[in-house]
Symmetry: C2
Subunit: 339 residues, 2 copies
Amino acid sequence: MTKPKQVTIVEVAEAAGVSIATVSNVLNRGGIRSSKETIRKVELAAEQLGYRRNTMAAGLSRNKTYEIGLIIPAMAGYYGQLAEHLQIEAHHAGYHLSVFSSGGFDPDIERRHLEVLLQRRVDGLICHGLAMGFETTRSIVNSGTPLVLINGWGWPEDIATGAVNLGFAGACLQSVKVLADHGCETICYLGSKRSKVIDEQRLIGFDAGMAQFGGGVSQEIVDTMGLDIEAYLRDLMQRHAKSVGVVAFDDHVALRVLSAANKMNIDIPGRLKLIGINNDYIAKESYPGISSWDIPYNDQAQMAINKLMHKIGNKAESGEDREIEVPLTFIERGTTKLQ
Amino acid sequence: MTKPKQVTIVEVAEAAGVSIATVSNVLNRGGIRSSKETIRKVELAAEQLGYRRNTMAAGLSRNKTYEIGLIIPAMAGYYGQLAEHLQIEAHHAGYHLSVFSSGGFDPDIERRHLEVLLQRRVDGLICHGLAMGFETTRSIVNSGTPLVLINGWGWPEDIATGAVNLGFAGACLQSVKVLADHGCETICYLGSKRSKVIDEQRLIGFDAGMAQFGGGVSQEIVDTMGLDIEAYLRDLMQRHAKSVGVVAFDDHVALRVLSAANKMNIDIPGRLKLIGINNDYIAKESYPGISSWDIPYNDQAQMAINKLMHKIGNKAESGEDREIEVPLTFIERGTTKLQ
DNA sequence: CTGTTAGCGCGTTCAG
DNA sequence: CTGAACGCGCTAACAG
């Protein structure tokens, strides 16, 4: 199956009895400056011959692809959701978004995808928290292709055009407040070093929250990597007779805690109060429902695409900050309050 | 920011003091037939100038893109996982996979993505259960681009080169057997009409299972669209004094059932036994763990890519069937058996 | 082994 | 409003 030769504008031009320039104008430039009659003829011919524009030729010729590349650590959960929204927003802006997963923060795969996208001459790049270091990234993206970061804090301006970050710190800070207000005598943060930068942000918020609202409340910081949640919980409950609060890295971790607690018959939210992040569907559908922080996917996607468009169109940055912070919204459910 | 002109092989050729053909040979054709010295010179020049091959020009020239497109209904859950594995397998085969989501079985978005991919002249297409009809699909994919379906049953040969399908029917059939063996007096299938074709497959298996193993066992078939699970469960338990079995559409639905049961203090697996499909992480991490069917992502991805490669390379179909069935594996957990 | 040349399909002048 | 001609960056013969 050698690729069957596809029909080109030349053939359409012949069939319609006009020149290729005319065909190009009618088909790919919104029918500017052409007589109704010509337009009809061309469109008919194209339709009948099954003409389909060759993106490569077009891109090559005008030095613009109308494609933007997205690299995320994985397809699951938050990343995948964001990808969907970005795809939609990109489409609204007249661009197409190609999605690549770096298979869970693998720097090598990440580099490979980046390289491929640049070889494609994408007009822009959106990346979620690059696993590569600054230097490596710089040496790769020095081509002048605009790069917008998602959840990337403190990147140098010569690499990233800007960043759109979720307000994890604020969410964690407020989580501590909620738990403290509910009378927890100790508050634990169950982190995940796998997502380094995000974990850091959450810790910043947690620490700030403890400093601000944690008077007389003890604290603990634990990483879930290889942690036996059940054992940890048992130990925790033994050490504290009254109410314990847990801020989980995300709803995934929260579910594990919840399940362990259910198994051990720990009273929720009486003895144990729990807050997750992401507002995954599991948060809504577990029992009890997990209090969590909802992510405004739409906003984040819109802002990211806008930022990119500004840069691509060389428009002024419209006075926005280089790093935008998008706040999350608390959704309270059964793990922190009685119905 | 007009795109800064990128360096081309012409410039590399000049810098290295050779012809562009030589540069092309060295850089993009695996160093075929070139003196060590020339290779060194060219590579050095390319390195220093920061040369990056232009995929569009290459693809245009050789009429081959080494890109394959994937369209899935969504990024979440099974689809996203599969996409990751497909990406890896595609890479092993020397291809790149661009992923597009049709935003939940939206035929319009699906068509748009398909169109874009064909305009890119991808070498192959992988689609998960197209929402479009046969006719529409045919009119779009008649370009001779090989198309492999994932979970597509009974598609005409002139459209799809082949299909790699998960053995949902077999899994449901066996689920019924398991529940019947465990002494359930009634067995319910909680479906989801949203995923039409998949729901059909599951029902086929369920029906076959009831016919084969359901002697003396009553059955019920319900759709979860807009269903009040808690109310349904209450009703179900009232109508049946002994053990009730539920085959859920997937682990997502299973979790909702599980949560409702936990809330109502229904004994699991004593009074209610539950089996999901997909073996999502929620199945492992809920309490009790949800018995489910594990999906061999690797196998399915490998087979899909192989099928596509065979067709692209015009190799014989190696005697394989056009529709391949990949079996699932039962993972038993707390919702069907006591620890 | 290396250089020359002719396209790949389309966008864009610039005369008519 | 139309048509001929050139160029985008690269590959694939074919000569040398």
